[in-house]
């Protein structure tokens, strides 16, 4: 089979699988555009607004890729919200107390934060694989402890000021146009898709989620694979935290509160099964768009806070239902 046929086939496959969800994104955009016009605010579908949506979804996006892997193994990670804060606080601490040259300390700070994230993920992985603690509980415990630790490390308040260079990752736009954060997110998605679809590791992740005992008996290294998945997810959460703290120019221990649920929602709306084994990175991207467009759009047309919560719930449900009905119709 030639590469182009192969590519066409997988595009068709993608549309067949995610067409409904992509439609949901389109419907969202249309609704917001119509309301925006009525209200006389700026057009929702302008290029700058779309870049803005992508830019805002950078953090969720980076997290969602890691979460997809975790959920594919049949696990879950509730600690990512706290890791956003943890990562930001650690890197801000290093940079705040570091001196010249600023660039070096920023790199060191980011590195230390990523290492700390890897340690946290490693701990989760260890608990899940070697002590068979359910991931829900292991990461719930970590969520609480890491949040408390972030506050303690930061002394309860955001760490600032930080040098201007610190905002590169979050605010810089390459050519004045494409935000660095968006590029980082897109790279993470591409790498994630390659890792999941084209490597042995990706096969193993899926196999574990589909039938863990079967995978074990087939010689799949369960412990090592899961461990790597939790490490990866935690490091990506820290990366998200670095982007956020760079956007804000401060290391905020309150950051990311409650974000774990939003990220999980995006992944599941994108068609990944919470019982593991089934799901794709492409689906996660579409799920992310549904949630991000919604969040931005509601702010755009000025829905107040309480109404936003009601609508968020309804839309999550609507998207999942839409997807379910498609499945029913097919099978």
């Amino acid at each position: 089979m030639s590469a182009s046929t192969e590519a066409r086939r997988s595009l068709q496959q993608f549309l067949r699988t995610y067409g409904v969800l992509i439609l949901a994104v389109v419907i969202e955009c249309a609704i917001f555009e119509i309301i925006a016009r009525r209200q006389g605010v700026r057009s929702f579908l302008s290029a700058s607004s779309l870049v803005n949506i992508l830019n805002q979804s950078a953090i969720y996006g980076v997290l969602a890729v890691g979460m997809t892997f975790v959920i594919l193994t049949g696990g879950i990670d509730l600690s990512v919200g706290s890791l956003i804060a943890f990562g930001g606080v650690i890197s801000a601490l290093v940079v705040h107390h570091g001196g010249e040259p600023v660039w070096m300390w920023i790199v060191i700070g980011g590195g230390v934060a990523l290492l700390a994230g890897a340690a946290a993920g490693g701990l989760t992985g260890l608990l899940v694989t070697h002590a068979s603690v359910p991931p829900f509980i292991a990461t719930l415990a970590l969520m609480s402890s890491l949040r408390g630790l972030s506050y303690i490390l930061a002394g309860g308040r955001p760490i600032a000021p930080l040098p201007d260079a610190y905002t590169f990752l979050g605010r810089h736009r390459i050519g004045g146009l494409v935000p660095v954060g968006v590029l980082v997110m897109l790279s993470v998605f591409v790498l994630g898709a390659v890792l999941l679809n084209a490597t042995r590791f990706g096969r193993h992740v899926r196999a574990i989620g589909g039938n863990e005992e079967g995978a074990r008996l087939s010689g799949v290294p369960i412990a090592r694979t899961k461990w790597a998945v939790y490490c990866m997810c935690s490091m990506l959460a820290v990366l998200g935290g670095l982007i956020l703290s760079s956007k804000l120019g401060s290391g905020d221990p309150k950051a990311g509160l409650g974000d774990e649920l939003g990220v999980i929602a995006a992944v599941v709306v994108g068609g990944t099964s919470l019982s593991g084994g089934r799901g794709t990175i492409g689906g996660t991207f579409v799920g992310l768009l549904i949630v991000s467009v919604l969040n931005s759009g509601l702010n755009w047309i000025g829905v107040e806070s309480f109404g936003q919560q009601v609508i968020l719930g309804v839309v999550i449900l609507g998207a999942v239902l839409l997807d379910r009905f498609k499945m029913h119709e097919r099978g």
Binding site: V41, Q56, Y151, P161, L244, G249, L257, S296
Partner: protein
Amino acid sequence: GSEPDAKVVGASLLTQTHVFYQDMVAAMEEEAKKQGLNLRIQYAEFDSSKQNNQVETFLIQGVDALLVAPVDSAGIKPVIADARAKNVPVFTVDIAAHGADVVSHIASDNRKGGELLADYMAKLLGEKGKIAIIDHPSVASVQDRTAGFEASLAKYPDMSIVRRVPGEGQRDKAFRAAQDLLQATSGLDGIFAINDDSALGALAALEAAGLEDKIVVLGFDGTPEACKQIRKGSALKADAVQYPKEIGRTTIQTIAASLRGEAVPAEVPVDVRVVDQASLAAQ
């Protein structure tokens, strides 16, 4: 930590996560040491049930006075009644308790702060312009701030509130909301952020969008980080300042006086002021 016969004051405060409360508590602890009081502090973290439990725990442990910053101004009433039944005097700080038997309430007026900021905004913008609020409407004191702001802004016919976006009082959420706000709304002139975390989030969004010269931000609380930005001449122009340290100090002084048997006023207002670059430079 104090001498064994020191009077014990149990405090259940709204949260430990706000700089305002951290500053207030620092001053309280310092003053308690001076007054020879044993101050035991708990934080309810916006959970009225938890606060209820904390107050009950204090009552079982036996304290000489209770200090509360209520999560739920109405919901605190029953435990305050319990305390009164046990003859424990109750004081409130920052947030009032509705209809409860409280010896004294020490706070600065959130509503007043909002009013002052509206006037400041009017002055800054020449009494005309479109304003947006970075809101957090589930918190009572925030509701007072925005109510004051709105009421006072109504005096200026050419000024209007065009948008309210939710920032949850958190920097990251406020940042996101402000970005959407800036994208959606053209011709915006000012932003009122209900606390300094929201203001700093909005400020970051303005800077990221390159709009820091076009739109002004007003904040609330006067945290050191916000003051630094105001002093620097950023888009954050002014803050309503509540003087948390003064509130903390006054609170403990009032409690100590009351425990010594002195009469204390039912309301101890602590001044709210607006600080801007000029007034900060003058200090």
